[in-house]
Amino acid sequence: MSSKQGTSLVTDLARARGLGASHTGTEHWWEQRLTSIALVPLTLWFIFSIASLAGADYATVKAWLQQPLSATLAIILVAVTFHHAVAGMEVIFEDYIHTKCAKLTAIIAIKFVAVLGAVICILSVLKLALGG
């Protein structure tokens, strides 16, 4: 090993960042953990709320989603869930798609589709919550 002074081709900034060839560090991992922690109470709330609404008529479901607390939690649930799903799908694509072009296409596609889905869901909740 040569000494770090003088012979290294790595710039001081690159060495300080400490990221290497991938150009990213722990951000993806951290986001996955953060969204998973948020989803524990949100998912439990949603599943048991939906379960207690099983067989209910339209007016009851609408009245439930129109409550400010339900609408707020539903919007947060949707946003965090789509974020978490994309983080997971990205890892799956990275692991199993071995062509660089196809991998990148799949990752871009899932991100676009997730934003579309999340906006559709949030707009639906808002329409119910604000539409009267």
């Binding site: 922690i37 524990v40 599943i47 067989g55 007016a59 799903a85 799956i92 889905g117 707009l123 639906s124």
Partner: protein, 128 residues
Amino acid sequence: MSNSSSRPLSPFLSVYKLEPSMIMSGLHRITGFALTIGLVLLTWWLVAAAAGPDYFAVIQGLLGTWIGKLALFGWTFSIFYHLGTGLRHLAFDTGRCLTKDGIVSSGWTVVVAAVGLTIVAWIIAFIA
């Protein structure tokens, strides 16, 4: 292979005996994938609710068939399983349960909790 003596092997799945912890890890990913597909259903359900009573009745009718109920049952179990193994992974991240006994016992705890919570959710659904 001529050089297969005592050298460490790359982690090819085929060289390992299938262990419960491997199945649990695989199922965490498979349920995560399935739940992502399930988001199409969630989106459809919310759109139907926003569209009005007539369209909402269509999706509620579809979900009420035995195929719909089966899909919802699988969805419920997948959520509770993925949530449980997710919490187990968060515990692993803090260095907990990373012994042989800890991995086995936390694994069984997750399986039992997932089955239990699925049954509780469906009891609530049938009573409601």
